[in-house]
């Protein structure tokens, strides 16, 4: 294979890996937004917090798999706590559509809070999580060698995507979630305990952020600014993909990953302008995003 082809494929896989990671974050973001209408700005902070919790579990046990199992659960627990204690409280104020702004402010506050708490606990230095030995090194694929851990991320995200699709599209629980995403009031009128489903979805969303956070740990260093980077990207994914659309989130995540990778290759420094230009264009003509169905 000639060098250019190898180059193109490599960049494509790079984009895929980052896109997959982004999808893990954005899927939770879009689920929570689509279902509960909460623009959870703190979502990316949960992502970062998961990386730190994983770092701490690694420091205690040295086992990456344990961290991958436990840290997302801890984060999901925190998310559920936040939903039940805080978000539910302001829902009770009955603020109508202004609720969105209140939730926005609350989650902004929580985001800053998490970032500062992380700084106080773990300090401002970057921390490093080591990938398990089984996932180190390179694996031959597509006629070249590629880092195993990045392939692992692709695999992990794919399996979660499949799992999530099965849960959402093939089970009654999934039907309920999708129904509630579209019309929570009607769903509750059919005898379904929607507040409980809300809590479940919030937990699921933060769990996804947690998984992404642990997976991102060995790929990026863990530092307090990690959340800001992810926040903007997942914002774009959710806005472009359509609020609450899992498929949209997946496609836009891939697109963004590839744009970044090929942007570095062909037009370094301009991919931001292209990306936001594209976003402006899409939102002007499809305000609900490319795959959005509901306001």
């Amino acid at each position: 294979m000639n060098a250019i082809a190898v180059m193109l494929i490599t960049q494509a896989v790079h984009g895929l890996a980052y896109g997959m990671l982004l999808f893990l974050v954005a899927s939770g973001f879009t689920l929570i937004f689509g279902m509960m209408g909460i623009l959870n700005i703190a979502h990316a902070s949960f992502f970062m917090l998961a990386a730190y919790v994983a770092f701490q579990i690694m420091a205690w046990s040295g086992n990456f798999w344990l961290a991958l199992l436990l840290a997302p659960l801890a984060i999901a627990f925190l998310g559920i706590l936040m939903e039940r204690v805080m978000l539910r409280r302001i829902r009770r104020f009955k603020l109508g559509k202004a609720l969105v702004l209140f939730e926005l402010m609350l989650t902004v506050g929580i985001m800053v809070c998490i970032e500062e708490a992380v700084k106080n606990i773990w300090g401002t230095d970057p921390q490093i999580i080591n990938a398990p030995d089984a996932l180190r090194g390179l694996i031959p694929c597509f006629g070249m060698t590629y880092p195993a851990y990045r392939l692992f991320i692709i695999g992990l995200a794919c399996s979660i995507l499949i799992l999530l699709s099965i849960v959402l599209f093939k089970t009654r629980l999934g039907n309920i979630v999708r129904a509630a995403v579209q019309d929570a009031e009607m769903t509750v009128a059919l005898g379904i305990n929607v507040p409980l489903v809300f809590t479940f979805v919030f937990g699921l969303g933060t769990w996804l952020a947690g998984v992404a956070g642990v997976a991102a740990g060995p790929l990026l260093t863990v530092f307090p600014g990690l959340a800001n980077q992810m926040l903007l990207d997942s914002f774009i994914v959710v806005a472009l993909g359509g609020f609450g659309s899992l498929m949209g989130a997946f496609i836009i995540s891939m697109f963004l990953g590839e744009l970044t990778a090929f942007g570095v290759q062909f037009f370094p420094g301009y991919s931001t302008i292209i990306l936001f230009g594209f976003m402006a264009f899409v939102l002007t003509f499809r305000p609900l995003g490319l795959f959005g169905e509901r306001e």
């Binding site: 180059m7 980052y18 401002t124 260093t221 600014g225």
Partner: protein, 441 residues
């Protein structure tokens, strides 16, 4: 009685002599000796802040935001020096021993926040001097405010060469760290003695990174005419994923990446190199962090990383050995500060602080003009070598040190991991220093 009378005159004489010596010692403007305090009690986390009639030093650094760790480090470096001086009683200024009080001001690495913080430092907290700062775009605010309010500004960590050119120069700002130009010249000179010829420039996309890229190209042209810059790319600050950049580097056939990155970007870069299974070394100022070395699993990664700095712990001088020893004793088991041997920046900046307070001590006053007059042209023996404050642009003239990371190294944590080579290469000031900028005398 008799015996007392007999020994009274010599005792009196001795007492008087002692008093004379003591008073002479206090009265004379003397340079203090660094590293006198007992550092075993020094805890960067809990610094004693003296109050009352003190010398107030503003520390302008990011304490929040993405670069907060830079501020933290500066704070404990300054704290180290202040601890030393304060436990010796302080500095004699205007006929009075005064302790040093550090007042922190947060820039959040944003010029506007920095400006406000500086106004508070100067107008509200009434600091005598201020020191800083990470980020060239912040330092330029420091320059302006120093000039406006006629306060001395010690810049120890903003490297952009244009900060002290004819347009931005003012007589209140002193720069003790190197510049992008000096770093680049040091590196290029070093490479002229090695067979490495293919370089890839990978820097951060803002003024400092761009300055370094430009300086590097100029210096390579001057010192290594046969060198080839096979690629040049500027990445955004706080980049998430280096992989696409590294694939580009790999395809270019480069033998050495030249990068101005600082943490967390420098860490991310090394980590990505590790993950990609690449072994191309990186040259720059911040690729010697021991914490990074400990965490790279592939032992070939990081080998050959070339560090250029105005101080390195493997520079063999008497002062440096002493400093290294104290530092190592203090920090080798500290879990929070995982730097067991002082990295270049750490040692260098501590030296710069000593120099600054030494100047104040010798001036014997807080009067700005007197300190400026004394400092211009002043020479100080720092840990690694001599520093001279050039009068024309207030840029410290210094030898530069280049070291390659090897393994095993006695400068690694375990003694057989990745670390500096045995001894740094000293590149004399007359090679690395560029002449005074045009328009300045």
């Amino acid at each position: 009685m008799k015996s007392i009378r007999a020994i009274a005159p010599p005792v009196t004489c001795i007492c008087l002599l002692c008093l004379y010596i003591i008073s002479m010692d206090i009265g004379a403007a003397r340079a203090f000796t660094p590293l006198q305090a007992d550092f075993s009690s020094y805890d960067p986390e809990k610094q004693e802040i003296p109050s009352g009639d003190t010398i107030k030093v503003g520390l302008l650094e990011p304490f929040s935001g993405q670069s907060a760790s830079a501020g933290e480090i500066s704070n404990w470096l300054l704290g180290w020096v202040v601890h030393d001086i304060n436990s010796q009683g302080g500095i004699m200024v205007d006929g009075k021993m005064k302790k040093i009080q550090v007042i922190k001001a947060d820039t959040a690495t944003q010029p506007v926040v920095a400006k406000r913080a500086l106004q508070r430092l100067i107008l509200n907290d009434k600091v005598d001097f201020f020191v800083g700062t990470a980020g060239s775009h912040i330092a330029i605010i420091g320059n302006q405010m120093a000039e406006k309010y006629q306060k001395i500004f010690l810049n120890y960590s903003a490297y952009s060469v244009h900060l002290m050119n004819a347009q931005n120069f003012n007589r209140y700002t002193f720069r003790t760290c190197s510049t992008t130009d000096i770093n680049a010249r040091g590196l290029a000179y070093y490479f002229s003695k090695t067979p490495i010829r293919k370089f890839y420039i990978l820097c951060q996309d803002y003024s400092y990174g761009q300055d370094f890229g430009a300086s590097m190209k100029k210096a390579l042209k001057e010192f290594v005419p046969t060198a080839e810059v096979v690629g040049e790319v500027y990445h955004p600050l706080w980049l998430k994923d280096f992989a696409p950049y590294l694939s580009k580097v790999q395809a270019s056939g480069a033998e050495m990446i030249i990068s101005s990155d600082w943490p967390p970007d420098s860490w991310n870069l090394m980590l990505a190199i590790d993950q990609m299974g690449m072994t191309i070394p990186v040259a720059g100022q911040f690729f010697d962090d021991p914490r990074m070395g400990e965490n790279l699993k592939n032992k070939k990664v990081g080998l050959g990383n070339t560090v250029v700095n105005f101080h390195l712990c493997n520079v063999e001088t008497e002062r440096n050995s002493r400093f290294n020893k104290i530092f190592h004793e203090r920090y080798k088991d500290n879990a929070k500060v995982q730097i067991d041997w002082p990295t270049g920046v750490v040692g260098g900046v501590i030296g710069h602080f000593y120099w600054f307070f030494d100047v104040v001590q010798r001036a014997g006053t807080l009067n700005t003009e007197k300190i400026i007059n004394l400092w211009e042209g002043d020479t100080y023996e720092s840990f690694a070598g001599k520093l001279t404050m050039r009068k024309c642009d207030h840029q410290a003239v210094m030898d530069m040190f280049v070291s390659t990371l090897v393994s095993p190294s006695k400068w690694s944590k375990t003694g057989n991991g990745l670390g500096y080579q045995e001894q740094a290469v000293r590149i004399p000031a007359d090679i690395v220093m560029s002449p005074c900028p045009e328009g300045l005398k």
